[in-house]
Symmetry: C2
Subunit: 407 residues, 2 copies
């Protein structure tokens, strides 16, 4: 497997377009479309929130019932959540607009929205957007990049990733784009991720691969602990790489898993590092845990702690907060046995050992914590399992972004 540049149009046969439809934002692109030249097997994972946006309901049905999907239409600005029957009708009409323009059956058109909850979409602008984009579709890195820009809300950077590997002597590509960066309204933030591949693979295995991989990637990030009503990861596989169809968990399936994981993890980390108001990507790695599940719970507890996140913002080696967050995670352990380290490109230091502070230099710790990517390494000394979780620091800007009145 090898990382390459590119995003959602990196894989063969995937085209994209974007447009400024004026849905809520002015003077910027706010709609994107992904189209596969051939019908693609579609897998999806969606928010576990009881309150689910209309596009989530629409997509879940397609992923569950249809053999193929061929297009995805995404808008930023309005989330189409808590919009009742009218909201669901807009999903249908968007799909029908694609059918009219591109002769793709409406039942093979997925939709996704991100933005303000409770507002209705301006349907005519949406339909005009689809028409415009249908004429601008291209299988090019530039168009993939435009799409990644168009779906941003409070994100400060577009987020793309791609990787290639070989199956049956054929080059297979996995590419994707995603957006963060908080939860919702008024900052129009939702985790949406779109990954495409030209691999030829059965729909069942595609879904299984996605479902298992999100547990270690998207589900291990947190910006603010608020699970959105719109969270969606879609994975389309159009088979255009020309490999023999993967129908069992063989070596080729494992190669795909590896590339998919790399793309998903890269996108997930980009989302965490670009969390609302963030100045740093904050990683917690737990090693030598007794079980994988415990490693994950411990890692996530640390990156979700408001106090720890504020300390990371202040470049403060406040290990008491980290220990505290491990302690209330629900996992049992001996606080006297574990070790804590801080780590970044500026170095690595032992900070806590034998139940008390290690003999470290506060200046050196502050230097390490001043990097844009900071890792807390937790050695549980209990077993062989490990896990990582990614978040960001808690800053004035997070409060500013989320306290400002909707406008």
């Amino acid at each position: 497997m090898e990382r390459i540049t590119g995003g959602v149009t990196a894989a063969k046969g995937f085209q994209a377009a974007a447009t400024a439809a004026g849905i809520k934002y002015q003077d910027r692109m706010d709609m994107a479309m992904i189209v596969s030249e051939a019908p693609a097997a579609a897998a999806g994972t969606f928010t576990t929130n009881v309150v689910q946006a209309a596009p989530v309901k629409w997509d879940k049905k397609i992923v569950a019932e249809e053999a193929f999907a061929q297009a995805v239409v995404i808008n930023a600005g309005i989330a189409n959540a808590c919009t009742g029957a009218e909201g669901l009708e807009y999903c249908k009409r968007t799909a029908e607009a694609v059918e009219t323009c591109l002769q793709i059956p409406a039942k093979q058109v997925l939709v996704a929205s991100t933005g303000v909850i409770g507002m209705q979409l301006p349907m005519e602008k949406l339909a005009r957007g689809v028409e415009t984009m249908a004429q601008g579709l291209e299988h090019s890195p530039a168009n993939g990049h435009q799409a990644a820009c168009a779906i941003m809300t409070t994100d400060t950077k577009p987020k793309e990733a791609a990787a290639v590997f070989e199956v049956d002597g054929k080059t297979v590509t996995v590419g994707g784009m995603c957006k963060g960066s908080g939860m919702i309204h008024p900052n129009m933030c939702t985790m949406l991720s779109f990954v495409t591949t030209d691999l030829n693979i059965s729909k069942e295995l595609l879904q299984e691969a996605l479902k298992s991989d999100i547990q270690d990637t998207y589900n291990m990030i947190s910006v603010d602990g608020d699970t959105s009503t719109n969270d969606t990861v879609l994975l389309l596989a159009n088979g255009m790489a020309g490999n023999q169809k993967i129908v069992k968990k063989d070596e080729n399936y494992q190669k795909f898993l590896q590339a998919l994981h790399d793309v998903n993890e890269t996108l997930a980390k980009k989302m965490a590092g670009d969390g609302e108001g963030a100045t740093a990507l904050f990683e917690t790695k737990v090693i030598h845990a007794d079980t994988k599940e415990h490693a994950k719970i411990l890692a996530k507890s640390v990156i979700c702690s408001s106090l720890t996140k504020a300390a990371i913002f202040g470049h403060d080696a406040n290990w008491g907060r980290i220990l505290c967050a491990l302690g209330y995670s629900g996992v049992d352990f001996d606080p006297e046995a574990i070790e804590l380290f801080f780590q970044s490109r500026s170095g690595k230091i032992l900070i806590y050992q034998n139940g008390i502070a290690a003999d470290y230099s506060e200046e050196e710790a502050a230097e390490i914590l001043s990097d844009q990517e900071v890792t807390v390494l937790v050695d549980m000394k209990m077993g062989e399992e490990e896990a990582a979780a990614w978040g960001c620091d808690l800053t004035y800007d997070y409060v500013k972004i989320n306290a400002d009145y909707r406008s």
Copy 2:
């Protein structure tokens, strides 16, 4: 039951003192002592964090094994957490200092600390503080108030509450003091609460009353979701009201429960409203839930949501975030059936109904949310159970307080 002014010295036979021991703060009182004239039955509840401070370990043993306790020594500035064997030794030496000064057995002396994790206490200053306080003990409202001031860390106000009721024609008093207001280091914050009563009651019933009441009071507040290593509630009953000893759950026990609940709820709400950086007390009341447990989970999910808390700070009627927080709480419900209201001294408005926004005025909503005490009322329309939870808004000052380097 009737509320009265006063705090931890309101009940008969309880004395208090405070002093500036110079443990970490300068130019302010940072130690307090509570002494009962007669040995008192002692009940306690403690943090569930796996990482427990030395005073928590010390007190748990006394509450579990000793028939009585007679004094509590509290310091602010250093938490005595993650301090190893040395930290536990300091608890013992503090208790021995009380034994020397007041002839109260060291095994009947409870201790509590709040402040920076990982630093050792200056034992000589602590011992001198005990000596000074032993000479200044008084059963007076002024001394109770001084004690409430001395245990503050990032708290902006001392927190006291008291109530009286009658048993056997005798007046019984319950009084207490507590502190908040974040979790720990460097802001030296931990939830500590001390409640005293002159009721004559068996130790078993006293513990049972406390254990059940904290579920609806202290356990229903959150400032930042970080469960401290030092959380402690101590309840002392010295029997000096002269009532016949309560040994079963009769009418008199119920009267006590009511007064205890009133004192605990008042103290808990004061803690939430004075959370780090807070400008408002943020209450969520869930009514017509199917079970009490679900009502509590739903209420707590809303007051813990960072996005909702930031919106409260911005006086933004951002109901999508509230619905979202209810939705990810883990409780199942029909989002189309429930109703949301905002409520404060400025009025009450319906904000969400039938799965979509109600027809409300944003100006009126912002006016209601500008109060210092704001309530979100959630009508689940599922049953007869209800619960309340209390938090505060998320502000720039929360970040400021917690990002500043330890000093």
